[in-house]
């Protein structure tokens, strides 16, 4: 029952100074140790780079072929993940169907499955004598194992869950009343999805696509088990690096450097777009 204090009282509105506290030393030590741990492998790699041979290794036929194949396949895998993953994420987020938690568990399982196991499993499902693969082969003449298409399938399998789970979270966080507002303004469901829902989930969609792409680019186990290791057809960068490391370590180091550079370039390139979303537009 106290009388309200006048709000223009200078003592009440004066901003309180934020007290600067000393950083807790144990936290600092552990955090720096983590950073060093991340940085060390890169330093180790850089330390061993045969700088004189970099150009000749880079321009060698095998390296360029593997890089081209890697980028090609990982982009396809990302595209397929978006095409199929966004509708799945929408379904998981918005529709309360029986078995929804089982469906989500299946998604998560594919994410945590050891990639080699995924490759073996894919082989028995989509191989020429596989559960589904035998009909693909018999009816359509489609063979996936040991082909470039097989690489894309393997990469999509391990990459898509990252996109689905990220985009599903975005769908869940979205205030559906914006979609309601758009419906009352005369927007069909598809129109509302395109003009209201999609722009709203864009940050999540981009983040999910980047995660999926990174996962596809680095994919090794499922690819080598399901698609094999044929230069020019199924030998992606990680496979080429692994093989080279056995016989020509210098080449492995240079190829690793290239893969790091590509990943780094993409992350830096996307950073602006991430920031652009939260930035207030200027008048």
């Amino acid at each position: 029952m106290s009388a309200p204090a006048p709000v223009d009282d200078p003592i009440l509105v004066a901003p309180r100074r934020v007290r600067t506290e000393r950083l807790p030393v144990p936290v600092l030590v552990l955090a720096i140790a983590a950073l060093v741990f991340f940085a060390l492998p890169f330093l180790g790699l850089l330390w061993k780079v045969p700088w004189g041979d970099v150009w000749s290794i880079l321009t060698s036929h095998g390296a360029l072929t593997a890089l081209r194949l890697s980028i090609w396949c990982s982009l396809w895998a990302t595209g397929l993940s978006v095409l199929f993953g966004v509708p799945l994420a929408w379904l998981l987020a918005r529709v309360d169907f029986p078995g929804r938690s089982a469906a989500r568990a299946l998604c998560t399982l594919s994410m945590v499955l050891p990639p080699v196991v995924a490759g073996v499993a894919l082989f028995y499902a989509l191989g020429r004598r596989g559960l589904v693969g035998q009909y693909l082969d018999r009816w359509f003449g489609i063979t996936l194992p040991f082909t470039t298409a097989g690489v894309i399938v393997a990469q999509t399998f391990v990459a898509m869950p990252f996109l689905v789970l990220t985009v599903e979270a975005s769908f869940r966080q979205l205030d559906t009343r914006f979609e309601d507002a758009a419906r009352t303004l005369g927007g069909s469901r598809w129109y509302v999805f395109r003009r209201v829902t999609l722009p709203a989930i864009r940050p999540g969609l981009i983040a999910g696509a980047v995660l999926a792409w990174a996962r596809a680019l680095g994919e090794f186990g499922a690819t080598i088990t399901f698609a094999g290791n044929f230069p020019g057809r199924t030998q992606t960068m990680p496979l080429a690096i692994y093989i080279a490391n056995e016989v020509r370590p210098d080449e492995a180091i240079v190829l690793s450097l290239v893969l790091i550079a590509v990943s780094f370039a993409v992350l830096v390139g996307l950073r602006d777009r991430f920031l652009g979303i939260g930035r207030a537009p200027t008048p």
Binding site: M1, A3, D175, R177, F178, D180, A181, A182, R183, T184, L185, G186, G187, S188, Y191, V192, R195, V196, P199, A200, A280, P281, P283
Partner: protein, 350 residues
Amino acid sequence: MTLDARVRCTLGSLHLDVTLQTPGGETIAVLGPNGAGKTTLFRCIAGLVPVDDGAIDLDGRCLDDPSRGVFVPPEDRPIGVVFQDYLLFPNLSALENVAFGLRARGMAKAEARRRASSWLATVGLADHADHRPSMLSGGQAQRIALARALATEPRVLLLDEPLAALDAGTKSDVRRDLRRHLASFEGVRLLVTHDPVDAYALADRVLIVESGRVVQQGTLEEVTTQPRSRYVADLVGVNLLRGVASRGTISTASGARVVSADVVDGPAFAVIAPHSVALYPAHPEGSPRNTWQAVVTDVDRLADRVRVRLVGEVPLVAEVTPGAVADLGLEPGVAVWATVKATEVTLYPA
């Protein structure tokens, strides 16, 4: 232009059962406490929630009737909605927001933008066309939301708490503008609010909804002078007692007797204005016919008067001066005597 809605709908613990009819040309305020089902009623009319039972007809066209298997989706209903918090699309400019409905209905971009500009001018925001919603004030956002809803030329305009998101300073200006815009819209105008001041300023008729049901309807004057529920009485700020009257004396369920100058028989309401309740430290001698002992539970200081909540034979709210609070030492737990003159008790049949 007639809207005839019989809405029955169950959502969670809410059982909505409301009939609303209007010939158009009037503004109806749906007034009620939080969770009463006001917004759900609007969502049913807009087509965002299908009714479980009942029917919604607009100008003889059926929009929703489960018994006939008719459901017109929201995008095909000629109904404009101004949502609570306005819900302007954050990624679009003010102009694009207003043009959204026209574009969604397939109008060419140039024409849609031209019309949207003219709507922006109508609501006085022509110079804010390029602004994003995050740069608009609450009052401006409300006017954009109104322009956006009106741009599609609907026949029904639903406004869900159009003033609730505004601070007190801008509210009265925005309310005045809204009143002007509502007057120029010829269709059915429905307004959801929990603020009787908004209803008073904007509506011709009020519909009081509590727990999913209409408890009272009529002009605002009818409703406020003869409240039929605790909610309306609190809203108006009066004491409401219910009981059975016999020649001007009403007996409440708790056994209290209230004497009135009005002569009414049968189930009745008694209304006592808080300023008619006088408080004394001891049993007073004098003419008041109603004298009850009570204990103070709450003391609420307003600008120049104090509302005192009492429990006892008759639960009451009394309005006294700050001086009286000091003289009587009023604070929670203090026992007092409350009196009300019989001429200050209004009785009307329940």
